[in-house]
């Protein structure tokens, strides 16, 4: 077993890596500080909290009421990844000037290969000192640095602000808890089996871990040994996988950037999927109309065998563009003026996409790419059997690319008296907001069952009595004669079998232009169809059909 480990060490030679970490960055970016209790909430649960809040018992994943009961003075912030990225840009720039080739794992965590820089600054400790003082001077942010073999160990070292000597990663990692692997199901299982530390996990035979828990756990096992946090099949992507787009007119607004980011991410994902690859490191490059070249690399999650999904790529592109467009880049460079004219996404490192294992019966068991979580933010039920939320998003992104973002909608039925007012169409990708009036009672609404066809343009009709004269409704809601014949537009008149009404609808009487005063009737004709017609100002209209 020792021999195998030695062989694997040679094959996965860990690179001396530096990790730069801003503790609790989402809270800092939201405006909180480390000394005051504060927490950032995403989806109703704690996403990040400050150190003081942690002392009071606030933890990630808690519900808001739970967190506030433990810490009543908790400052509450909403999660905004764009803001986090935008405010982290100066720190990233500052580190990049000292050590080129940085990779952002998430706003607040940067990893970079450090061997060359260490030689340049004549020692690892001088390099660390230089970085922390420069970042503090230029941006005013406090960072913690960690140095170790491999990005997983370096990240753990940064959490503890330590320098781990070369080759000592396994010993450093041994006493750390299993939660560091960021795999909650595996951690839960191992804890119940009595394995609480990375050392304990590393002591298990690798072949047994592979057989019992699968390849992902075997990869985690390698990490616990301090071997390189790069999936074994990682390799550089062939150059023709990059996607680029010339932007005309130049983009200088964040919402246009969102749409472009989605389209490009979709294209890249398709190209990668066609080759069976998933991307774990992506470079986003842009050029402004003034000729400035901007570039940033993002690494997937830190440690995972999966790659970015299309939505994850789109999110990061959007955050990065947002960061550049509204950015607080240092004053001597200034904001990129003039807008972006060119955008390119380059998959730097790819792995073979493990793909989705379709079982013989039942729905696809998700295996490969991990989603970035933007799907659940849209209220989608990610556990719906059969359809995979990622495939759904991909298909809808394609349709939005063809027809525009507003063409794909979901509906919300809310408040309102008129049939048209009750329905709001929300473009896919935007939050489905519930307005305050939605759950209130609306007197004057039609009773259920509601009609299945609501005509968007009201069709003219004529309703006549038995003698052929048009039926009228006067101001006192009295009908001039019982309704007998219905004629819709140019069709044949049909005999009315039953009718009810008039039901008045009198809205917005204070607004002359928008006022609507109408008398509605439900009627059925002898052929069995049901209609909703209205008498409005001497004319009859068909509002809906019960078909």
């Amino acid at each position: 077993m020792t021999n195998n480990r030695a062989v694997r060490t040679l094959n996965n030679r860990a690179v001396r890596t530096l990790a730069v970490w801003c503790p609790d960055w989402p809270v800092i970016a939201a405006g909180g500080s480390a000394e005051l209790p504060g927490a950032v909430f995403a989806g109703g649960r704690v996403f990040a909290c400050s150190a003081v809040a942690r002392l009071e018992g606030v933890r990630r994943g808690q519900r808001r009421r739970d967190a506030q009961s433990r810490c009543p003075e908790l400052a509450v912030y909403l999660h905004d990844p764009s803001r986090d990225t935008r405010l982290f840009e100066p720190v990233a720039e500052s580190v990049e000037e000292l050590v080129p080739g940085i990779e952002i794992v998430r706003p607040g965590l940067i990893v970079v290969a450090a061997r060359g820089a260490a030689r340049y600054y004549k020692g690892e400790l001088p390099m660390l000192a230089k970085i922390s003082t420069t970042v503090a001077d230029e941006t005013g942010r406090d960072v913690q640095l960690g140095l170790a073999d491999g990005s997983f160990a370096a990240t753990q070292a940064a959490y503890l602000a330590q320098v781990v000597p070369a080759g000592d990663a396994a010993n450093f990692l041994a006493p750390l808890g299993i939660q560091a692997l960021e795999r909650p199901e595996l951690a839960d299982l191992l804890m119940r089996l009595g394995v609480h530390t990375l050392g304990g996990f590393a002591a298990l035979p690798r072949s047994d871990v592979l057989a019992r828990f699968g390849p992902d756990a075997a990869y985690a096992h390698d990490l616990a040994h301090g071997l390189e946090a790069r999936p074994p099949s990682a390799r550089s992507a062939p150059p023709d996988l990059a996607v680029e787009m010339a932007l005309d007119p130049p983009i200088d607004r964040v919402d246009t950037a969102t749409f472009v980011a989605k389209t490009l991410a979709e294209q890249l994902d398709e190209r990668l999927a066609a080759r069976g690859l998933a991307c774990i490191r992506i470079s986003i490059e842009a050029r402004t109309s003034n000729g400035e070249q901007l570039a940033r690399s993002w690494r997937h999650g830190g440690i995972s065998t999966a790659g970015f999904s299309a939505s994850a790529i789109a999110d990061r592109t959007r955050w990065q563009l947002d960061g550049w467009l509204s950015g607080t880049i240092r004053s001597d460079d200034g904001r990129p003026t003039g807008g972006m004219v060119f955008l390119r996404l380059i998959p730097d490192e790819v792995v073979a996409d493990v793909g989705r294992q379709l079982s013989l019966w039942g729905s696809a068991a998700g295996w490969g790419s991990a989603t970035a979580g933007s799907a659940t933010a849209w209220g989608g039920d990610a556990s719906a059997g059969g359809a995979d939320i990622e495939q759904i998003e991909r298909a809808l992104a394609r349709v939005q690319g063809l027809l525009g973002p507003d063409a794909v909608v979901t509906a919300i039925v809310g408040g309102g008296r008129e049939l048209a007012d009750q329905v709001r169409l929300v473009p896919w990708g935007e939050p489905r907001e519930v307005l305050p009036g939605d759950s209130c009672p609306w007197p004057g609404r039609l009773p259920s069952p509601s009609p299945a066809t609501v005509l968007s343009g009201l069709r003219s009709a004529s309703v006549t009595a038995a003698d052929g004269s048009p039926v009228e409704v006067n101001g006192r809601l009295a009908v001039s004669a019982p309704l007998r014949w219905l004629r819709v537009e140019q069709r044949e008149p049909v005999e009315i079998a039953g009718w009810a009404g008039p039901w008045p609808l009198d809205t917005r009487w204070w607004d002359h232009a928008a006022a609507r005063c109408r008398a509605r009737f439900q009627l059925t004709t002898v052929d069995g169809s049901g209609w909703l017609v209205a008498f409005d100002n001497d004319r009859w209209l068909v509002e809906a059909v019960y078909d």
């Binding site: 298909a395 349709v399 489905r432 009810a500 439900q522 809906a544």
Partner: protein, 224 residues
């Protein structure tokens, strides 16, 4: 508490309790994945008791029937999409049981309706399409083939070439309106299914759609 079996069947149907059990399981005991459920009252219309994945179904001129079928798939839970105007009434959709978060609509695809439908068939369990009047046979055949390939159900609100089952409403009677009073309460319709292969013999069933409580239920006027 009264046990459901103790009450007369017609009373149960009147209040909307279906007396058919189960839907969507094939006679040889294959699990549910290959067949999407339909409202139990309509199960007799479909070979296999439900919507077989990969098949194309037409429903002519009855948006309520389309909504009832969509709702059963949406509740399963499943994702459904709709392409083409006019969009089905959303309030009626909610009453039928469609989960609006999982019901995505594309109102005006224009000339690209076939491409859009094909993209949606890749990912959704059920795609409702309102084909334009000038839809070409080639498009129809290609989309049916795509549905078969991706194991999705293509539900066409209109005419279609080569559909497995074609549903139509042959008779409908609304209840609840008198002469100047009342309101539309419930409707009894007779649904006919015509198809190819094992569905070649026309099947008819009378259902309440919508029933008194909004659901689809069998009418006691069905023979046997």
């Amino acid at each position: 508490m009264l046990h459901a079996a103790a009450l007369p069947v017609d009373f149960l149907e009147r209040v909307g309790v279906s007396t058919l059990t189960g839907s969507g399981s094939l006679p040889d005991g294959m699990p549910d994945y290959a067949v999407l459920p339909v409202p139990p009252a309509l199960a007799s219309l479909f070979p296999g008791g439900g919507l077989r994945r990969g098949s194309t179904i037409t429903v002519s001129r009855s948006p309520s029937l389309v909504l009832a079928l969509t709702a059963q798939v949406s509740k399963r839970p499943g994702w459904c999409a709709e392409v083409g105007a006019p969009l089905l009434g959303s309030a009626a959709a909610v009453e039928a049981g469609v989960v609006l978060e999982r019901f995505v609509r594309v109102a005006e695809p224009g000339e690209q309706w076939a491409t859009v439908t094909a993209s949606l068939l890749e990912a959704f369990d059920l795609v409702v399409v309102h084909p334009p009047t000038r839809a070409s046979q080639g498009d129809m055949r290609r989309l049916s083939a795509r549905a078969r390939e991706r194991s999705a159900v293509l539900l066409v609100a209109g005419a279609w070439e080569g559909a497995m089952v074609g549903l139509s409403v042959v008779r409908s009677t609304w209840q609840g309106l008198g002469e100047g009073h009342g309101y539309l309460r419930a409707r009894q319709i007779e649904v006919q299914a015509l198809g190819r292969g094992s569905a070649a013999r026309p099947q008819r069933v009378k259902v309440w759609l919508p029933g008194i409580n909004g659901a689809v239920s069998l009418s006691r006027e069905n023979a046997a």
